[in-house]
């Protein structure tokens, strides 16, 4: 039987509470700023709220992942363009988001990891981050990114190899 359209207020709240942490982590690895990452998350959920009557509850989480991913990409492009225009071509001078991680006493390692993630091509980065944080199956990620399922696995492996190679010296 077809699932009735519409995401209730309670389902919306449950979805947010369930996905807040992983979605935040995805967005954070794009913008490297805690507030921006949360803004992206909230923008996505406001969009989801606006469209709740046309969504089905069991596909809403997919919608949330796609929306956060798209908003994070957009925000990242905008931030990079802003830095380019202000003649600051160093990505490392982006807002010192590593401060969040420095609390754990690993600021230097995290900065290197961040730089390595930054250097990943987008097609690898999105697959890696979704595979790490979303708990979605490869098939779901493939559907979400409109790529073949086998490509998800190969891109994830390639991304990990690239990161390992860059972080070898640590």
């Amino acid at each position: 039987m077809a699932r009735a359209l519409g995401v209730s207020e309670a389902e919306w709240e449950t979805l947010y509470k369930r996905l807040e942490r992983p979605l935040y982590n995805l967005a954070y690895r794009y913008v490297w700023n805690s507030e921006d990452a949360q803004d992206i998350l909230h923008d996505a959920f406001m969009e989801l709220w606006a469209r709740r009557e046309r969504l089905v509850a069991n596909t809403a989480d997919r919608y949330a992942w796609v929306t956060v991913l798209n908003l994070a990409r957009k925000r990242r492009r905008w931030t990079r363009a802003k830095h380019f225009l202000s003649s600051d071509d160093s990505l490392d001078s982006l807002p010192a988001a590593a401060a969040v991680e420095s609390e754990a006493g690993r600021a230097e390692e995290q900065a290197l990891l961040r730089a390595a993630i930054e250097r990943l091509p987008e097609k690898l980065r999105s697959v890696l981050l979704l595979a790490e944080f979303s708990e979605l199956s490869y098939d779901s990620i493939a559907e979400l990114l409109s790529i073949p399922s086998g490509t998800v696995a190969s891109r994830r492996n390639l991304a990990l190899r690239q990161l390992r190679s860059e972080l070898k010296g640590i």
Binding site: E20, N25, R29, H42, M46, W49, A104
Partner: protein, 110 residues
Amino acid sequence: MNQPDSLLKLLEPPPGGWERLRARRDAARGWAPSWWALASGSAAAVAWLAVASGPTKIQMQFNGARLIGERSHGVGVQLLENGRAVSLPSADANVRIYWVEPAGSTEARD
């Protein structure tokens, strides 16, 4: 560091995220009825003004020749009540009816 994927540790989002989102949603939801209220209030105000300021006599606003005594369709017309057109009730809000008489009829009536 040999397992880069394990380095992608799960960070905690800033606290109070849900409360902020809910407040934002409520603010957005609260505004919608306000706009409706504003729009319907404005419409009601315009309607009230139309009724309240709609006496039977309307100031002469016409510059055309038809209502200032010149001939219209071959009939000379004149305004009543000292240069004022007299409006009559109309069942259609888009239609205004003014009472004018052929020139000379006043004398005939008197």
